[in-house]
Every structure is written in C-alpha cells, then in structure tokens.
Amino acid sequence: MQLEALNIALRSRSPWEAIDLGFGLVRRHARDIYTAWFLTVLPLFLFLSVALQDHPWLVPLLFWWCKPFYDRVVLFVLSRAIFDERTTARQALGAVPGLLRTGLLSQLTLLRIPSFTRSFTLPVWQLEGLRGRIRRRRQGVLQIRARPYAVWLTLVCVGFEFIVWLGLYGLIWLLLPAHLDFDLPDLLFRDDPAYWVSAVQAGMYFLVVSLIEPLFVAGGFTLYLNRRTQLEGWDIEIVFRRLAQRLAALRAQAAALFLAPLAALLLAALLTLGLPAPVQAQEGQAQEQQAEEQQTQELPTREEPGEEPAAVGETVNPTRLSADRAAGTIEAVLAAKDFGHQREVLRWRFKPREDDGKNTREDGPEFGEFFEDLAELLATLTRASLWFLLGLAVLLLIVYRDRWLGLITGRRRRQPGYRPPDTLFGLDLRADSLPEDIAAAARALWQAGRHREAMSLLYRGALAALVHREGLALHDSHTEGDILALARQAISAPRHQYLAELTGVWQLIAYAHREPESTQSQRLLAQWQTHFAGDDGEAAA
C-alpha cells in the first residue's frame, strides 16, 4: 500500500477522534457515496417494496436485514476516496458483483445478528479479503484495544437512527396544518394501517438508513485505519520514508560536491551540535570552523573515563554548572529567607458541643412541630428574598436599559465617551463647516464646473448626516468601505444604495480623477435631498 498517497492525515488518534474522522470523510465525499448508494441501495429498496406489496410491514425489516450489503458499497467508495480516487456511477455499479463475493452470504445469514462491531471488522472481510480462522485471528488482534469503541459506535449509531426516525415523525407532526384534523397516532398504530401509511413509513426508514449507515461504516473504517496505524506504525513509516529520501539526497549532494573531506568535517560539526541541519547550513564559514574546533576540543574529554560528565556531548551550553555545584547553588537559594518561612496564625473556632446528642433526644416529641415551624420560617424568608431578587432584577433592567434596548431596536449604541470625528479622510464633518442647503450648494458648484468639489460636498454632507443624525459611530480609522458596511445596518436599503453609488462616484473623482457621467451626477444631486436632508428626508425614507 502506498501510504504516501493517502489523503488523510496519519497520526495516532484517540479512538473517538478516529470515528470523527470517518464522519468528516462522509461529509467530504458525500457526493460519491450517495451516488453509489442511490444506484445500488435504492433499487433494492424499491424492489422490496414492490415484491412485498402484500406484507408491507416486512419491507423495513428486510431492508434492515440487508444492511451488510450497503456497508460494502459505502466502504468501496470510501476505500478509494482516501486515496483521492473518485468513484463514478459506472464504477460503483461495476463493483457490485465483486462486493457480493466478500463474505456477504455468511454475514447475511449466520453472522447477521450477533455482530456489534460489524463496521469495524468489515475492512478485514472486504479489503484484506481474509476468511475463516485467519480472519477471526486477525479480527481478534485488531479488536484488542478498539473493541469497546467499535461497540459504542454501533450503539450510538442505533441511537442516531432512532433520533432521526423520531425526528422525521416530529417534523411531519409539527408541519401538519391544525385544521386538517389528522389523527396521526390513530393512523400509525392501527392494527391494519392503510397501505400508503406503511409505504411512507418504509420510505422514512430508507431515509434514516441512508443518513446514518454511511456514517456507521465510515466511523468503523477510520477506527480500523487508526488501529492499524498504531499497530504498524504507519505515521512513523511516512516520516521515515521521507527521512530516507532526504538523507539519500544529502549524500548524493555531498558526493557531487567532490569535496569529501570538507563535507565530512562539516557533517561531523553538525552532528556534535545536534541541531537541525538547515539552520546550520545557513551559518557562515567562520562559525563552522569554530564548531569544528570546539568539537576537536571536546572529543578527548568524552573519551576520558571518570571525568565529570558535565561537558560531555552537551549541546546547550558548555559553561553550565556541573550537577553537584548546581545542587549546592539551588540549596543555597532555597535556604534564603524568601523561601519556605513559617507563619503562625491564630483563629477562633467553635468547640464541638458535647451535649448535642442529649438535646435532640429531648426535643424528640416536639420534632414534628418544630420542623413545621422551621419550614414555615424558611418559606417566608425565601418568598421575601425571591421578591427582593425580582425587584432587584427590575431595577437592573431599568438602570441598564440602554444596553438591552439597543438589542431590540437594532440601533447601534454609542460607546461611552464617543465623540464624532471632526474630519474623515480629510473631509471636514463639523456641522458649521457645511452650508445650510447642501444639495443646492452642490448643484451650484457643479454648474460652475467645479465637479470634484460638488461631489465632495455631497459626500461630506451624507457623512455628516450619518454621524450627527443617525448616530453612527464612525472613527478616523474607518475607510469609505468600512463606513458603507457600517451604514448598512443603520439606514434603509434605498438610502444605503444611494450612499453606495455616491461613495463610488466620489472615490472615482477624488482618487482617479474620473468624472461621473452627467446623468448619474444629476441623479445624485437631485436625490440627495430625499435621502440625507434633515428630518423631512428621514420621514420620506
């Protein structure tokens, strides 16, 4: 098997994560899986429905019984998908005869009922192609640690089937119009339900199986893959293969350099430092030589027996302390006053009461009454405190009304201490810097041929309106695009559209010096009044 070609990340996962990976695979390859599914399983279902017309209750049962066959279809697609091979409709259909010969007969008869790990062991049948005693032994090895998880997967998938099945009923029940007067329980639980009711129920069961069975198979499959990854070290194999390639390339490179002695020295230097090669390779020649010298100095000390092992082969810091001296220093530090001083604490405590037992026995006869009084007292206290809490809650609601009212009305709350900026990208936004009638002033500018200023005035006016009247919290840091995005929530759609157009025109004329078409500019000039001029404008919008 070509592990390198595998399209799923190989690492040693927890069994749960392995199952999740399978669920993710189904989502990723849903199209291929369901193509094959509806080409093979749906016809079978339809055939069963037609053939068993007289005994409709048998249809779901038999459909359930044939599940091992569907499992094989799903596994066929998945086993190709993990190698990035698509499965076309033709391939899926062509594979069916082969799938029938993967132990299907025994799994549909003798082994149908007592298998709680069906999806986990399926790859042994189908992909490894083992049979008989060898298969059982192989399954035994694989199941050693994974079996509980495979069983849980089966149980949870059964649960999921029930959930989806009940969910479908619930959905139908929720969506039934009330005036139809439809007695659902009566329809479902009558002794002899109408034929169409049985058919709908069987169809629902088909949908349920279609949703859950691929997940079940995929979860078992990835659990199996994970188990083999652990047993056979697949994740290690991939890295080792890459390592071998890299080293071979390294060796070839060194040979090609034809500078064998230098290369050998260099390698030796790298080794002693024990650091990743690329880092070393980038460093200068001088350092390499230094490292070589260091190594030649250190090597003799390694050979000497009885020498302190402090500097032996150490890669971190040649000047670091020996273990003994370090221990001495640490003890000295710990002995200092800052560490480990003691403190005496005096505190009042209740003495255990000696006459406790006697008292309760004396109270014995009145216990019931006392208990009732206590309950009454507690009830009064609790009632009082609950009313108090309610009052407090109302008070808090009033005090913090700003916060939650904003959530309801959708108007953006201004940050405390927010002050609208005087200018935005160089445009003065102060109210007194703008003329009284902006639209008229802009039109005058336009007619005087000062097109850029006219558009600038319109845009400035719109921004000023947003900041001062709409309460939009604009900052110096916002760009034209930011403002457009912010305004989307604050103003109505037609106004926003107008603003978008105006922004576009302004950007073109301001930054690209490109004049707008006169019809567009005339329209902008004409509509400004309705969209951004004072209270009238707002009312109109």
Binding site: N7, I8, D20, L270, P276, P305
Partner: protein, 248 residues
Amino acid sequence: MSATQRFDTRHTVETPEGIALGLATAGPVPRALAFVIDQLIRTGIYMALLYTLPLLGRFGVGILFILFFLTEWFYPVFFEVLNKGQTPGKAAMGLRVLNDDATPVNWGGAMTRNLLRVVDFLPLFYAFGLVSCLLNRDFKRLGDLVAGTVVVYVTKRDKALQLPEADPHTPPFALQLEEQQAVLGFAERSPRLTRERAEELAGLTGELVAGSAQPLAELQGMASWIAGRRAPNGRGNGSGNGNGGPVA
C-alpha cells in the same frame, strides 16, 4: 508534502501572537455519550430532590420547582463556565467547550449555546442538533453556531517517555525536529510492534542505519540519545558495553 493538506478533523487557530493552536474538534458520537452521562446525572439529581424536598411541605415543593428549573437550564452553563468548559459528562469523555478562537467560554457564550438547546432539540430528541453537527466542518450544533463555540478534545499531557533500554548512540546525521519525534515515537512504540514490522520500519530510514547489522537496536539507541541519555563512559556507539542504558 505537508501534512496540512491532508484531511483531518483538527483545525488550527492562530493567536495574535502568531502561535498556532491545534483544536481537535469532537464529533457527534462522543458528544452524544457525554450528553447521556449528563442526563443520567441530572436524572439522579431530580430523583434526590423529588424524594427529599416534598417532606418540607408546600415550601419544599416550591423550592423543588425552582431547583428543577435551575438544574434543567443552568446545569451545563454552570459547569462549562466554572469547570474549564467541562460538564461532568464532557469531562468523562475528555471533551471541553471553547470559543472559536480557543479562548475559554464565558457566561454569555455558555448561556447562548445552552438556551439554544431548545432549537437543537427540535423536532424531537435533538434531531436538528444532530444534523447540524453532521453538516458542519467543526461538528457544531446550532447552539454552537450562534454562540461561536466549539467542542474539542482535551489535550492529554504527554507522559514521560518510556524508551526501551538501549545504549545511547549519536545519530550519524543531524535530524530535523519531525524526524527526531518520529525516531522517539518509533522507539517508544517498538515493543508493541511485531518484531518483523519494527525491523522493517527501522530499515526504512535508509542512510540513517545503513551498514548496521541491527537497524532496530541502532535506532533505539539513537532515540535514547535524542532523549538526552548519554553513555557513562566511552562514546557508547551501541557496540554493547553490557551495562544496559544509563539514565541521565
């Protein structure tokens, strides 16, 4: 040939400091089991309340209803905020709730995701939640989508390395980080691999063990060296000084 292109359920969140955190999002199976455990615990609480509080008369019944309400709605919220994102069920399954950006979940997030259980519950028994879980890349139910939270596996602390006894031996090449990890992982797992497979894997390293008669022992020795063990005397090149591996 980077591992990130391959399919995995783990996804990476980058912090503003440029640190990549790997989040292993948890799927519906362990989450369903965690839910079942929590539900059992809650049922236990209800039973206990039901058998004790009515003894206090009408006061007890009143308190009972209040406690029912609080347990039903705030049991997960309480634990998720105060117990590092873990309800008892999630803790048992090794799961934890986090915000999307890997920060701990706060009151707002926990409230949102748990109040929206009502929606996930529709039409019956969390069918919408299940379907949403299956369709989403991070296995989010609707409550998670709204609250911006995600359920992940708790990363277990690495246990101390359990390397087989081998004479420390300097690798003949400088190994990169990933390769060093692989060698360590191999040595740690080699006792559980079959002998033949372990030999085969060791042989796959090519140049690293080239010319060695016993690639497996050779590689275990390198792992020992990478783990920081050193021969007590001599260079310990794996030529059997008989003392077994010293522990640094």
